[in-house]
Amino acid sequence: MSLDVTQQSTGRLALPFLPRRGARVSVLEIFIFIVCLALAIIGLPQTLQDVAVLTFLWAGLALAWNIAGGYAGLISFGHAAFFGIGAYTSTILFVHLGLTPWIGIWCGGALAALFGALLALICARLRGPFFILSTLAAAEVVRIGALNWASLTGGPEGLSIPPVAGMTSMVFASKAAYVAMMLLFLLVVYAITKLLEGSRYGYYLFSVRDDSDAASAAGVNPLTVRTAAMALSAGLTGIGGSLFAQYFLYLDPTFVISPELSFQFGLLAAVGGLGTAIGPVLGSFLITPMSELLRSYLGNQAAGLHLVIYSALLIVVMLYFPGGIAGALTRIVSRKGKL
C-alpha cells in the first residue's frame, strides 16, 4: 500500500480522510440535487415547506461555515455574529432607509466579510481552543452591542419587516418562493465550495490547515489565506442571514446572534463531515428536519431538547466516525471498491 504523503505530514490535525479533490460531481450529488429540485417544484404541504426552507438554509450556512472550519481549519463559534450582521444590515437599510433588500443583501454580506477578515487578522496568532474562544467572545460582544444599541437595532424588542408581499421588499406571499430562494442559496454556496476544492486557492487552504509552517516554507502566506477564507465564509454567512431575515421577518439579538446558532452551524458541518462539500449538506438534511419536527411535536415545553440531541449525536459521531456521515459513506464505498 502506498503511503499518502499529505496524510503522513499532517500529524494530529489530519482529518481521517482527505476530501476528494477537484470539481467533479458524483452520482450522489446529482441524485440529491434532483430530489431537492423536485421538492421545490412539487407543492409540499405548508408545514413541510417551512422545514424545507430551513433545511436548505442551514445546509447553505453549514457549508459556508465549513469553508472556514473544515477547509481552512479555522474552527469558529462566532459565525452567528456574521449571520446577525448580514440580517441586521439588510433589514436596517430597508426599514430605516427604504433600500430594497435585493441590494441590502450584498451590503450585509460585504459588511460580514469585512468583520470576518478583521476577526481573522486579530486572532491570527491564536491556535486551537483560543481561536475558538476568541470567536465566541467576539460574537458575544456583537450580541450585547446589538442589544444595547436600541436606536439602530431595536434592542431587545427586536426589529420587524412589514409583512407586505412585494417584489421590491423581497417578501413573498407563497412559501414555495422561499423554498426556491433557499435552494438557490444552497446551490450557489455548494458551487463555490466545489470550485474552491479544485482550485489553486483551495490547495493553499488545505496546506495551511494541515501544516502552517510547511505551507509558508512553500511560499504560501498563511495569514492572507486564512483571512480570505474567513472573509469568504463570513460573507456567505451574512448573505444567509439576510435571507433568513426576509423569510422570518423578525430579528432579535438573543436568537440571531446567539452562541447556539454558531454551534448549530459547526455541528451540522461536523456531523455531516468536515472538509467535504457534501458533508454539511448531508448533516443538515439529516438533522434539521428531525429537530424541526421534534420541536413542532413537543412545543415549547422542551426548550433545549433539540440541542441535547444535537450535542449527544455530535459526541458519538466525533468519537466513532470522526469523518462524519460523508466519511462513513466514503469508507463504505472504498471498501466495496476493493472487494
Binding site: 490535525l13 463559534f77 491564536l126 481552543p129 483560543f130 467572545a137 467576539a138 452591542g145 433545549g304 468519537l319
Partner: protein, 294 residues
C-alpha cells in the same frame, strides 16, 4: 483613596476564587494538552449540586463540599474514560468537538431540568468583616482563605509527593515519562478527575457569592481561560497570580466604567488578553499559540 483600596482588596479576594476555579483547567491543559471546553459546565454542575444540598437538606455550601468534591471527582473520571480518553489518539479536532458537545449537552440538560431561572442560596453569615478601614463579605474572605490553603496543599502535592513528580514529568515530556515507567494513562485519569474535583470545590465556594443558571459556565470559563493564558499553562502559582490580576481589573473597571456594559467585560477582556498578551504575563511559551496546528 479608601474606595480604591476597597476595590483593590476585594478584587484580590475575588481573583483568588477565580484562580481556584481555573486550577483544574490549567492542570488538565498542562498534563493532557487538551482543553476541556466543558469546564464551565462542570462548574455549573457543581454549583447546582451545592445549591441542591443547601436548599433541600438545609445545610450550607461549605458542608456540601464534602459531598460535591468526591462526586465531581467521580464525574470527572467518568467523562475522562467515556469521552476524553477515546479522543486522545485521534485528531485534535475530535477532542475539541467532543468536549464542546459535552458542554452544550450539559447546558441544555440543565436548561430542561432547572429552567433558565437564577437560583441562589440564602446568605449565611449576614455580616461583613472589617479589615482596617475596609469591609468585606464574610463569604468572600472565607472563600479566599480556602483558596490559599488549597493552593499550598496542591503545591505540596506537586512538589513533594511521588504522584506530583510523575505529573511534572508528564508535563515536561509525556513520552520520556512513559519510557521511565510512569503509567501516563493513569496520570491522565488522575489529573482529569482531580481537576474536576477542584472545580467542584470552587463551585461550593462560589455558590454563596453568585447565582447559578444553565449558562453560568460561559462567563466563568472565559475568565478561567484568561487566567490560564496569563499564568502559563500547568502552573499553579501562575494561576493564582493571573486570577488576582483579573480580579483587580474587574473590580476597578466595574466601578468606574458604565455598568450597562458590565456583561461585556469578560468577553472584551478575553479578546484584549488574546490580542496583546497571548504568551502570558511572564512570557512563557505561549499557551494560546499551542494548539491544532503545532
Amino acid at each position: 483613596m479608601s474606595t480604591l483600596g476597597q476595590l483593590v482588596l476585594s478584587g484580590i479576594f475575588i481573583g483568588g476564587i477565580y484562580a481556584l476555579m481555573s486550577m483544574g483547567l490549567t492542570l488538565i491543559f498542562g498534563v493532557l494538552r487538551v482543553v476541556n471546553f466543558a469546564h464551565g459546565e462542570f462548574l455549573m454542575l457543581g454549583m447546582y449540586g451545592a445549591w441542591a444540598i443547601t436548599r433541600l437538606l438545609d445545610l450550607n455550601p461549605y458542608i456540601a463540599a464534602i459531598a460535591i468534591v468526591p462526586a465531581m471527582l467521580l464525574f470527572g473520571a467518568i467523562v475522562h474514560q467515556l469521552i476524553v480518553r477515546p479522543a486522545l489518539d485521534k485528531p485534535h479536532l475530535v477532542v475539541v468537538f467532543a468536549t464542546m458537545g459535552l458542554s452544550i449537552f450539559m447546558q441544555n440538560v440543565a436548561l430542561m431540568i432547572m429552567t433558565a431561572d437564577l437560583w441562589d442560596v440564602p446568605p449565611m453569615f449576614n455580616r461583613s468583616v472589617a479589615i482596617g478601614p475596609f469591609y468585606f463579605k464574610a463569604e468572600l474572605l472565607l472563600g479566599f482563605a480556602i483558596t490559599i490553603v488549597c493552593t499550598l496543599l496542591l503545591q505540596w502535592v506537586i512538589r513533594a509527593t511521588y504522584l506530583g513528580k510523575a505529573i511534572r514529568a508528564t508535563v515536561q515530556d509525556g513520552e520520556a515519562a512513559m519510557l521511565m515507567g510512569i503509567p501516563v494513562p493513569r496520570i491522565f485519569l488522575i489529573t482529569f478527575a482531580g481537576g474536576s474535583a477542584l472545580v467542584g470545590l470552587a463551585a461550593c465556594i462560589m455558590m454563596p457569592l453568585f447565582s447559578v443558571f444553565p449558562t453560568v459556565g460561559l462567563n466563568f470559563v472565559l475568565i478561567a481561560f484568561v487566567i490560564v493564558v496569563l499564568g502559563g499553562m500547568g502552573s499553579i502559582e501562575g494561576a493564582l497570580l493571573g486570577g488576582i490580576c483579573i480580579g483587580v481589573v474587574q473590580s476597578i473597571s466595574s466601578y468606574y466604567v458604565a455598568p450597562a456594559y458590565g456583561q461585556m467585560f469578560y468577553f472584551i477582556l478575553f479578546l484584549l488578553v488574546m490580542i496583546f498578551r497571548p504568551n502570558g504575563l511572564l512570557g512563557q511559551k505561549g499557551a494560546a499559540t499551542i494548539g491544532i496546528n503545532d
